[in-house]
């Protein structure tokens, strides 16, 4: 057999390894996100766990596999473990709520997210991680130039990753469900395994058994692929515990499932019930619609952002003055699915001549339209994730104000309770209250069990509205009623609530929620968390108090300690390199999350773009590593290059958020939207490259002082991972939401400066003493 075929088959196997790594990561990320109620803050946790497990596989199992006598058998065995565990992981993710003892419709806490995603990812990530060093070994065994083989493997894996990202984003997620994708992947992997068995037949020691097992699994997989639909359905019915799931679809924004029950349809978005048709939550809908519509002197033109169908529009249409209703959802697919399961109520609402349904993300529509409205109703009542938080930020309120007429009213709702108060709930309400207050002159709150209603306007009409005004308007407008004032309407108009809310608010936060400081999500999530995990609620309360000043003070103290303490600074030099790599790992993950979060805050559909963002980042890492690796021999002063890269990372981490903040207000057309999207990819690539570029140099510098190559790589690699893991967990849940994009970037800068000083200072000190 020619050398070319041998090498090509290995290359293909490595390429598929990269390809399947990305697809598996995306598959599991998406499935986990659905179970985690679409909460993007959990992305950091999932990434952190994936990366650390992969590294674990690489180090412990990969190194062992490298020394194994049956390398090919091990390679194939790892591929098989990877394949089977991927299928099982999807299945277990779907029934995760049941396994953890949660009911359908309940949210999962952060602690549970942390350990459950760890366990679910464990076999898949570890086996995938172990494949890398083994592939390197196999490749170098069949390569003339053994030294460059690691690099080559890296290249092929990266090409695989790029292919994976593109195929995932533009092909797989649009047309197939997770089990179909997973089975395609498994078959692809097994086919390449068969090819390897044929080509390297002589290398195998356990010829028969390997062949038999691989073939059997391939046949079983082929069979299962045909029935992937059935497995998919089975997992769904296990997930939904026998409820009649009539629709299950992943849109660009998330998962939409519909359950039918005696003629009523319950629409779930990422496992959380959003809408029940055709019976509205009538008590709430009547408050939500009629209080603002009677408050406004003459409502004619309305915009509903989410939650219009299924009762709200029907109630609005009972007001004779209303001439035009524009209606959009956050996820346009939601509307199509409502249409797919028609009820007389929703049909009437969506086909009414005065109703214009916009199949576009609601916030984007508001941004692009030139219409002016009398009332804007926002039908999402909790900034529970970044996607929904887009409707509770200062930027959004400013936009809404721009689109409102002079006496126009913005109506929003927030979680409220009359039975259970905690600081989290209070902070959530008061933070959004402050945010509204920063844009509108008057705000009136109607507290209620479940949802507090907020009316914001520049007209004081909303403040003075009461039962007697309501009766007058009812009369004026000639609307027929069943009883003069329904109890639930009278109830919320009770004057006692005004003082009640003042009392409730006392001592609440003064922070403001914005697109790039999504503190609202943090409060919403920590409220939920305090209910389920009160034991860590205290931690969250402390984290909430965190601010940039604290980091600055800490930074200054550490610097002082460094200079004042009588330690030999030159000794710290050895510690400096791994520390620097750790902060770079930290920065890398923060960049990645920053891009994902910023994308979500601007567009709302990171669910479909995360594959590309991650791919570009990973490609960037490989590119950076390669670039410096190839220059290594030509670099004279390694340390100086290392420091320059560090400084570039520092400048970049400041530049990126500033860029977002500057560009954000100016996107008003779809062209600019696309331009910004491309910018996101470029920034992903650059962040990756910077992180990747530093590693080979650090390796070289550290090697000068350390005799062992594997020890060096081990120390540096684990520093990188620890940094990444910490920032995945902390950055995602705390830093970015609490401090915001810019201040988180400054924290990164401080950390980087600290590690840089530890490296630079001894050098300068040595130079100075030499000169003397």
């Amino acid at each position: 057999m020619t050398f070319g075929i041998i090498k090509n088959s290995l290359r293909l196997a490595i390429l598929i390894m990269g390809f399947s790594g990305l697809i598996a990561q995306m598959l599991l990320l998406r499935e986990l996100l659905i179970v985690f109620s679409g909460n993007e803050l959990s992305i950091g946790i999932i990434f952190a766990n994936w990366v650390i497990l992969e590294a674990f596989g690489c180090f412990f199992f990969g190194k062992r596999a490298e020394k194994s006598k049956n390398k090919f058998e091990t390679f194939i065995a790892l591929n098989i473990i990877f394949s089977i565990s991927l299928i099982l992981a999807i299945f277990f993710t779907r029934i995760l709520k049941e396994l953890l003892g949660f009911s359908i419709g309940e949210n999962i806490g952060f602690l549970q997210m942390l350990y459950s995603s760890f366990i679910i990812l464990l076999p898949t990530s570890i086996s995938h991680g172990a494949l890398f060093p083994l592939s390197c070994k196999l490749y170098s065994d069949f390569s003339h130039d053994k030294a460059s083989s690691i690099g080559k493997v890296y290249i092929y894996e990266t090409i695989g990753t790029i292919l994976g990202g593109i195929v995932w984003t533009y092909f797989l997620i649009t047309y197939f469900h997770s089990f179909q994708i997973a089975f395609f992947l498994v078959i692809l992997i097994l086919l390449i395994n068969i090819i390897l068995i044929i080509i390297f037949w002589r290398e195998f020691r356990l010829k028969k058994i390997t062949t038999v097992i691989t073939l059997t699994i391939l046949i079983v997989s082929l069979y299962l692929t045909i029935s992937a639909e059935r497995i998919h359905q089975f997992s769904i019915s296990a997930q939904w515990k026998g409820l009649n799931v009539v629709h299950y679809q992943n849109s660009l924004y998330g998962n939409i499932s519909v359950v039918e029950n005696e003629g009523q349809y319950i629409f779930f978005s990422d496992g959380i019930p959003e809408l029940i048709t055709p019976i509205p939550d009538i008590g709430f809908v009547e408050k939500f619609v009629h209080i603002p519509l009677f408050t406004h002197p003459q409502p004619q033109k309305l915009f509903i952002l989410s939650g219009g169908a299924g009762g709200v529009i029907n109630e609005i249409l009972k007001h004779p003055s209303v001439k035009e209703i524009d209606y959009a959802e956050l996820d346009p697919l939601f509307l199509e699915i409502i249409k797919k399961f028609p009820t007389p109520l929703t049909e009437y609402e969506l086909n009414h001549k005065n109703v214009k349904v916009k199949y576009i993300d609601g916030r984007l529509f508001l941004k692009m339209t030139e219409n002016r409205y009398d009332i804007i109703l926002v039908g999402v009542f909790n900034p529970s994730d970044l996607q929904t938080n887009r409707l509770f930020t200062k930027e959004f309120f400013a936009l809404a104000k721009k689109r409102l007429n002079n006496s126009g009213i913005l109506v929003i709702g927030l979680p409220g309770s009359l039975r259970y108060f905690n600081d989290e709930l209070k902070n959530l309400n008061s933070c959004i209250f402050n945010t509204l207050k920063s844009e509108f002159s008057y705000i009136r709150v109607f507290p209620a069990e479940g949802t507090n209603l907020f009316l914001a306007s520049d007209s004081d009409e909303i403040i003075h509205f009461d039962s007697s005004k309501l009766l007058i308007r009812l009369n004026e407008r000639g609307i027929h009623v069943n009883i003069p004032i329904a109890r639930h309407i009278e109830e919320v108009l009770h004057p006692g609530w005004k003082e009640w809310f003042t009392m409730f608010f006392e001592g609440g936060t003064e922070k403001i929620n914005s697109d790039f400081t999504p503190i609202g999500v943090f409060y919403s999530v920590s409220h939920w968390n305090s209910v389920f995990n009160p034991e860590i609620a205290k931690v969250f309360q402390l984290l909430e108090k965190m601010n940039l000043q604290m980091f600055i003070v800490l930074f200054i103290i550490l610097i002082f300690l460094f200079f004042l303490l009588p330690i030999k600074k030159t000794k710290l030099y050895r510690l400096g390199i791994p520390l620097c790599i750790m902060t770079t790992g930290f920065a890398g993950m923060i960049f990645d999350l920053m891009l994902i979060f910023a994308f979500q805050s601007i567009y709302g559909y990171v669910f479909s773009w995360i594959g590309l963002l991650v791919t570009f980042f990973m490609v960037g890492v490989s590119f950076g590593a390669f670039f410096t690796n190839s220059l290594l021999s030509r670099i004279k002063n390694l340390l100086s290059v290392f420091i320059k890269i560090d400084l570039t990372i520092i400048s970049f981490s400041l530049l990126m958020p500033v860029l977002f903040i500057m560009l954000h207000p100016h996107i008003d057309s779809s062209v600019e939207f696309i331009f910004l999207k491309i910018l996101f990819l470029i920034l992903s690539f650059i962040s990756g490259s910077l992180v990747g570029a530093q590693f080979p140099i650090a390796n070289m510098i550290y090697l000068e002082k350390s005799p062992s190559l594997s020890e060096t790589a081990g120390i540096l690699y684990s520093s990188d991972l620890i940094g990444g893991w910490i920032s995945g967990v902390l950055g995602g849940i705390v830093l970015l939401p609490v401090l915001g994009l810019l201040n988180t970037a400054i924290v990164v800068v401080l950390l980087k400066l600290l590690s840089l000083i530890i490296i630079v200072y001894p050098t300068i000190a040595i130079n100075v003493s030499e000169r003397r």
């Binding site: 019976i279 039975r419 905690n422 109890r487």
Partner: protein
């Protein structure tokens, strides 16, 4: 304790530490603006005053407290020693008192809210444990803050001070000893508001007899007609219909029919709540028939329509939907047909 009320006083701390009685005054300006704070229930004398003066209130409190040694406060009669910190079906942490919120509530029945609100105190944990619970955070998971008997007494007094019309005790059953003890303290300090016993209705006669002459307003639910249903949706409480019927009769015997006074406020009497459920799970019409047959026709009955699938309700397809307008109207019409004349109907589907 007073030391806690030092310089760092904020209203926020108050919610955490009601024990600082001085802080209560901070609220008064807020509610005082509208002339709250005056004694408003002139003419009404709560039943418990007499028992307090004779010292019997204290004795009854002790009597209930002792029951916790082998707890039989509710029909579950699980017999755990709560005094030694054991948890029964209700999951209340031994004899500790945990409260999730207290404040003037303006969303209860109109004659309880009046102008200045019903002074609600929400107790955590629950002995009935329904799968569709709408306050599962407090009733099932038990989120709240541990309080002392004196704290509870202070809460009652505070609610009186800001002008509430009554003390509305929500889910009181498993904390009845604490309530009586606190009441004794509060009465000594001037409490005169009627107590509202806001319960699931599943109460033991023996316990209700102890409350005779203490509670002025009973606000029980009648949730189910059939024991198979109560058993299925309320954690095996198959005795619910039978015991609740007896309990409601006893409550009526004690306080009679709820009639508003001249000021429109109810100071004494029985108010029944009933939640209409999907697929007639509650047996609403049967319940209305029973009320009409057994109690006076002018018994105050609040027929509620707000059922929505919550908590674990999605695990039960037959109750994982809302009720239809027709389902609700049918129950209301039935009640009217039966001659029930004091119906509190919510007026949903308001505009035509």
């Amino acid at each position: 304790m007073e030391k806690n009320c030092g310089d760092k006083i904020s209203r926020r701390n108050f919610l955490k530490k009601i024990s600082c009685i001085g802080l209560q005054m901070l609220f008064l300006p807020i509610f005082g603006r509208h002339g709250y704070g005056k004694s408003i229930n002139s003419g009404f004398t709560p039943a418990y005053l007499k028992l307090h003066r004779s010292g019997e209130l204290k004795e009854r409190a002790e009597k209930l407290w002792k029951i916790m040694e082998k707890c039989q406060l509710c029909p579950r009669k699980c017999g755990v020693n709560r005094l030694k910190g054991m948890k029964g079906v209700c999951r209340a942490p031994g004899s500790k008192l945990v409260i999730s919120a207290f404040h003037p509530h303006f969303g209860e029945e109109r004659p309880l809210v009046g102008k200045r609100g019903s002074g609600t105190i929400f107790f955590t944990h629950c002995n009935l444990r329904c799968v569709f619970c709408q306050n599962w955070e407090i009733s099932h998971i038990g989120r709240g803050t541990e309080r002392s008997i004196n704290d509870l007494a202070d809460m009652m007094l505070f609610l009186q001070k800001i002008g509430c019309h009554n003390i509305n005790l929500v889910t009181p059953t498993h904390y009845s000893p604490h309530i009586l003890k606190a009441l004794d303290v509060a009465v000594e300090k001037g409490l005169t508001l009627p107590l509202v016993y806001n319960t699931s209705g599943w109460e033991r006669l023996e316990i209700l007899k102890v409350l005779d002459g203490i509670v002025d307003i009973y606000l029980p639910d009648i949730k189910y007609w059939e024991s198979s249903m109560s058993s299925k949706y309320s954690s095996g409480a198959e005795t619910y219909p039978e015991i609740t019927k007896e309990a409601v009769l006893e409550m009526h015997r004690q306080v009679g029919t709820a009639k508003p006074a001249k000021d429109g406020i109810i100071y004494r009497g029985l108010i029944i709540r009933h939640l209409v459920m999907p697929n007639n799970v509650a047996g609403s019409e049967k319940i209305m028939e029973w009320i009409a047959k057994t109690l006076p026709k002018d018994t105050y009955v609040n027929i509620m329509a707000q059922y929505t699938p919550l908590y674990k309700a999605f695990d039960y397809p037959e109750i994982s939907r809302r009720i239809t307008k027709e389902e609700y109207v049918k129950v209301v019409n039935k009640a009217k047909e039966l001659g029930l004349s004091n119906l509190d109907i919510q007026g949903y589907w308001w505009l035509r």
